[in-house]
């Protein structure tokens, strides 16, 4: 099948075959990353604007490298130093960017629905690089690519996503993607961090770490936003780390062939112990490497590169 969408906004809207197409395209992009000269002319003359309203070194850099390896011109429009700080609205910024005729706008914004809003306002392709607590589809795609590489397949696998599910766009995108591909998902955390009716997304809920991670193929730990203490959702980082941190001890409940993932940035010693993050089960750095390949694939499919890379 071919790619037909103008934008990549959510995992929820993708068909399983579309997810497969992105993953297959990304797998072929990895070959470029392995070359000594990592540059192909595929997107020469195309312009990609990275529009980031929230600080994000990792995701922005990943998109930037992806665009550059495909020879696109990549421009970073980061909000703190831009007109967003002067009170310009998202739509006004969008209209201004549109006037400069980019081919792809990659947007990260603190408000759920922001990417869809831009997609409606812009004729060019829009990639959602995270909209509030809603979705972060390229993160889910790179997670799926990583799991598929390590396990050889996706269907039938089981995953535990642990931590601040309520505020996590990574969790939502992964839940949609994994469910579509026939994986089973358990979300786990203290009840204050589990959003209401999350079962309606097709997941199981657990309130005990050892129970959640026993017998799963993949454990995905989420970053704990430290301001969650201020909202009286958890008592202390210390207590959170004790009951919800993945440590060599708590990992004893898991299978021998388990994969440990984290979307980063990691709070070492809080949701994950350093020796686990750096340990033999961890694929955290594979995720980062696959991030570039997935974003190359997405830019390639959306910007309509004609030649194969």
């Amino acid at each position: 099948m071919g790619w037909t969408r103008k934008d990549l906004l959510t995992m929820q809207e993708l068909e399983p075959a579309e997810i497969g197409l992105i993953l297959d395209t990304a797998a072929s992009m990895k070959e470029i990353a392995a070359r000594e000269i990592k540059k192909v002319p595929t997107l020469r003359g195309r312009t990609v604007v990275n529009l980031f309203y929230e600080p994000s070194t990792r995701t922005r850099t990943s998109f930037e490298i992806a665009g550059k390896w495909l020879s696109a011109d990549v421009v970073n429009w980061s909000a703190p130093g831009s007109s967003a700080a002067k009170g310009e609205s998202l739509l006004d910024t969008a209209r201004n960017i549109a006037a400069m005729s980019p081919d792809v706008v990659v947007v990260r914004h603190g408000a759920a629905g922001a990417a869809a809003l831009l997609a409606k306002a812009l004729r060019c392709a829009v990639v959602n690089a995270g909209d509030g607590a809603h979705e972060h589809p390229t993160q889910a795609l790179l997670d799926l690519l990583t799991i598929r590489e390590k396990k050889g397949h996706l269907e039938g696998l089981s995953v535990a996503i642990v931590g601040d599910i309520a505020r996590s766009r990574v969790a939502r995108s992964n839940i949609h993607g994994m469910r579509k591909l026939g994986m089973t998902v358990t979300v786990a955390g203290p009840p204050t961090l589990i959003p209401p009716f999350v079962q309606e997304l097709g997941v199981k809920v657990s309130h005990r770490l050892e129970e959640a991670i026993a017998n799963v193929d993949v454990i995905m730990m989420l970053r704990l936003q430290q301001e969650r203490m201020m909202e009286a959702l958890i008592p202390s980082l210390r207590e959170y780390a004790r009951y919800w941190g993945l440590t060599p001890t708590s990992l004893g409940a898991a299978r021998q062939d388990v994969l440990i993932m984290h979307p980063g940035p990691v709070n070492r010693g809080i949701e994950i112990a350093p020796e686990v993050a750096d340990g033999p089960y961890s694929v955290i750095l594979d995720q980062v490497a696959n991030g570039v390949a997935v974003r190359m694939a997405v830019l390639f499919l959306l910007a309509g590169g004609k030649a194969q890379p």
């Binding site: 408000a111 607590a133 939502r172």
Partner: protein, 434 residues
């Protein structure tokens, strides 16, 4: 002002009238109801055959935005919108700038209403100075100046002692306290109903319990003080249950519901249209059904629009940033006739009652009926007229509605205030331009 309204179906729930009759208006008052009435020579005649002649509709909860936010709405444009929507009177909330927490602001609003208003305007005074919930506003002077109720609408009074004192202090005036019932800690940063849809959309939620704990608190304080508390824009099945029980126990409580809570649910928020962002939020199907049932059985006393005009820029951006609220004056009657009365969920008489005698009683107003001697405030409905809701045609300064494009049958055809026609076929007569 004299007129003869001839041959319409006169529907006055306050006096149990529902019959084809003529209405004779003399000097701005209802003179007589009857068949084959004759008017003195030269009296203008309004042919109302096939139409429904009702007491003037009253909206107990609007935001006219003046003074301070004239870019959203003014007394002039808001009352035109009211007339266009079939309302002969509106009660306007205190969250202007400056806040209506002292009589000079009340005087200003009333002066504007006299000089530029198209329908009657009844100001609602603030409960607390600056709506800050810390000190009482000058409640006695506000009452003397003409305020018909007190409310910190939009800013729930979190300090229970302050609300208790407001209830006690205002008891001698006989005016209700209108409660925007939401616990501000429980609502937090929520922008929609908390539930399955907020979880899916990644938007912060406001739980039903945020409303219900405050309604329960308000009812306890009403019982303690003997005051009349009116629950604004009730939106949850649980809050309805609390009000129903309290009424059964004789507590002085009334409640209003908005057209949007009667017609829409949280499902409407999918797509992140900022015109589906309101406060309290759109709830679940179960809540919506409970509201319709409570409106029918009288647990809910009146329909109020919570007409909340906002400029385009305040409603076009991302959902989190967008302002809360929608305009309602020009869509309420058509929507409810079409979506509640036409399918048989509510009978017309009850709908008219909740727009007339319901709000009149709770605000102690003279209107709400067609009894001889009453002001000739009259709303005439055309139940057969089909129209498509077009926000560009609104008389309001603002266009923020989720109902644009809805096809409806039934509309307010004519509005009379004090016997004078102020709206006919959506055209405003009289008033001055803002």
């Amino acid at each position: 002002m004299n007129a003869l309204i001839r041959g319409g179906r006169v529907l006055d729930p306050a006096h149990d009238v529902d019959a084809v009759q003529d209405v004779l208006i003399q000097e701005g008052k209802i003179s007589r109801l009857g068949t084959g009435l004759r008017a003195p020579d030269g009296t203008p005649t309004i042919e109302a055959g096939g139409k429904v002649v009702c007491p003037g509709f009253i909206d107990a909860h609007v935001h006219l935005r003046e003074p301070g936010y004239e870019y959203k709405e003014t007394v002039a444009t808001g009352t035109k919108a009211a007339a266009a929507g079939g309302f002969t009177a509106v009660a306007c909330m205190a969250n202007t700038n400056p806040v209506n927490d002292n009589r000079s602001v009340t005087d200003y609003v009333l002066a504007k209403a006299r000089s530029e208003g198209v329908v009657r305007v009844y100001p609602i005074g603030a409960v607390s100075r600056g709506l800050e919930g810390k000190e009482l506003a000058e409640l006695a002077e506000l009452a003397e100046a003409g305020c018909v109720a007190f409310s910190d609408d939009g800013h729930p009074v979190m300090n229970s002692a302050l609300l208790r004192h407001a209830m006690e202090y205002t008891l001698p005036f006989g005016l209700p306290i209108i409660s925007h019932a939401e616990d501000a800690h429980l609502t937090g940063g929520g922008v929609m109903n908390e539930g399955a849809v907020s979880t899916e959309l990644g938007l912060a939620g406001r739980p039903s319990a945020a409303e219900e704990v405050m309604v329960a608190r308000d009812l306890c304080l009403a019982e303690l003080t003997g005051a009349h508390v009116h629950i604004a824009h009730i939106s949850t099945a649980g809050a309805v249950r609390l009000v129903r029980d309290a009424k059964a126990r004789g507590i002085r409580v009334t409640a209003e519901v908005t057209p949007h809570h009667l017609l829409l649910t949280e499902e409407a928020v999918r797509g992140y249209d900022p015109n589906t962002k309101m406060n309290p939020p759109l709830r679940t199907k179960r809540d919506r059904e409970a509201l319709v049932e409570a409106l029918a059985d009288g647990t809910i006393d009146c329909i109020a629009t919570d007409h909340a005009p906002h400029a385009v820029a305040e409603k076009e951006g991302d959902f989190d940033q967008a302002a809360f609220g929608i305009v309602g004056l020009e869509t309420a009657v058509s929507l409810l006739v079409d979506r509640l009365v036409r399918p048989g969920l509510l009978d017309l008489r009850t709908l008219v009652s909740r727009f007339t005698v319901g709000p009149a009683r709770l605000l102690n107003l003279r209107g709400g009926s067609l009894a001889p001697g009453a002001d000739a405030d009259i709303t005439i409905l055309d139940l057969e007229r089909r129209l498509t809701i077009d926000p560009r045609a609104f008389h309001s300064k603002s266009r923020n509605t989720p109902f644009g494009g809805w096809e409806v049958t039934g509309m307010p055809w004519m509005t009379l205030v004090g016997g004078r026609v102020v709206m006919w076929e959506r055209v405003i007569k009289g008033g001055v331009d803002a």
